[in-house]
Symmetry: C2
Subunit: 233 residues, 2 copies
């Protein structure tokens, strides 16, 4: 029974890695679509998002079946419950990649936001792609040391993304910029989507680290800080 | 054993109602803080958000204990897993109420967004408060008929909020408006927060309805539609 359970846990873990790979691909293509105004690629990301949703639902169903059949307790139960939460975050990351693609599609053949912010968005999207790739590695990590190293990398990338998010607002609110309202709206949304994408990755990294360290005994997950990056704050 | 489990399920359900009441209070105060630029009230909402996070974590811990102790299966297992998901959505709704309060705080003593949009935001916040109140009633509903009626009300409110969200963008992008960039940024974020708040309520309503109807057998929860309201779309 125990062996069967371990096998099933491995399946769930592989399922999460698979979804994370789809999210990485979505973000990678969304980043290209966004930075190069590639409308065909944007549409592909948007339509492919349904696949991520399906995979997440299927994995959740599988996980619930395992709980019903195996009645896990203690750490095993934490693992399967975490899988449900991680799949939910991954599903949301897929949505955000699709939102970014949707912005590119709607502004085609133009770009999204004011020209002056293009380098910032290029960097944010590069970092989000890196975060998604790190997430695949995290969920596929072979030991605690690797897990912790990758989790720290994800958090470091998130800090950089938060800084860029803040700089987007600084730029939008500076007197120098002569942006149209449509550019300001788009840039605000794009920056928010890029930032939230990385937030979800950090949330997953924290869950994986809690499981690794056993710290879930006194789990106090910090929720997203209140308005971490408020314009002009 | 069965009786104990029913008692424990009732406790979890009461716990969700309690969190929903806190969320309702947070949104109610955030709405007042936002529409009247009440900085003291805004700060209260922001600091009180930690309480919602604590309650959600405590409820999750309790729910996981119940799964470990009672090894529920079938519908009972669905109920407890849904409780975990619902608490997660409620926690996020609390964050969004705090984000709205944070916008009010940062712009104090001024208001948030261009003057012309004040009536739209007043209406969006009124609807969000109504949605939060409906959510308390939904989680406390005594029978299926009541559940379905309230869930439909929540969805109807969400549709209205989506329309207002769209009208915010129409207004921001119209040539008539002479808004400063800071007003456009704030209005974009505020509208997005109001809209997401109601989205989470709809997501909870769908989960409760699935449980009531037994339709979770072929659960296919539509994820948030891709960029349901894209500026200028």
């Amino acid at each position: 029974m125990r062996e069967v359970f371990q096998q099933e846990l491995a399946e769930v873990s592989n399922g999460l890695v698979e979804i994370a790979r789809h999210v990485e691909s979505a973000m990678q293509r969304a980043a290209v679509a966004f930075t190069t105004s590639d409308v065909a690629l944007a549409e592909q990301v948007i339509s492919d998002d349904a696949r991520i949703d399906e995979l997440a639902i299927a994995l959740d169903e599988h996980t619930i079946e395992i709980i019903a059949r195996q009645s896990p307790v203690a750490r095993d139960l934490r693992l399967v419950v975490s899988a449900l939460r991680i799949s939910s975050s991954l599903e949301r990351m897929g949505d955000l990649a699709a939102h970014i693609a949707a912005l590119a599609r709607y502004r085609f053949p133009g770009g999204v936001g004011p020209n002056t912010l293009r380098p910032v968005f290029a960097e944010m999207s590069r970092l989000d792609v890196a975060v998604a790739r790190q997430l695949v590695a995290l969920l596929d990590a072979g030991n605690d040391e690797e897990t912790n190293r990758i989790a720290d990398e994800i958090k470091a990338s998130d800090t950089q993304i938060d800084d860029l998010h803040r700089s987007t607002f600084d730029a939008l609110l500076s007197d120098d910029i002569q942006a149209q309202s449509v550019e300001v709206v788009d840039a605000t949304l794009a920056s928010r989507y890029f930032e939230r994408f990385a937030d979800h990755a950090v949330s997953i990294a924290q869950k994986v680290q809690y499981l690794t360290s056993g710290e879930w005994m006194q789990e106090k997950e910090p929720s997203t800080p209140v308005a971490p990056v408020t314009p002009g704050a």
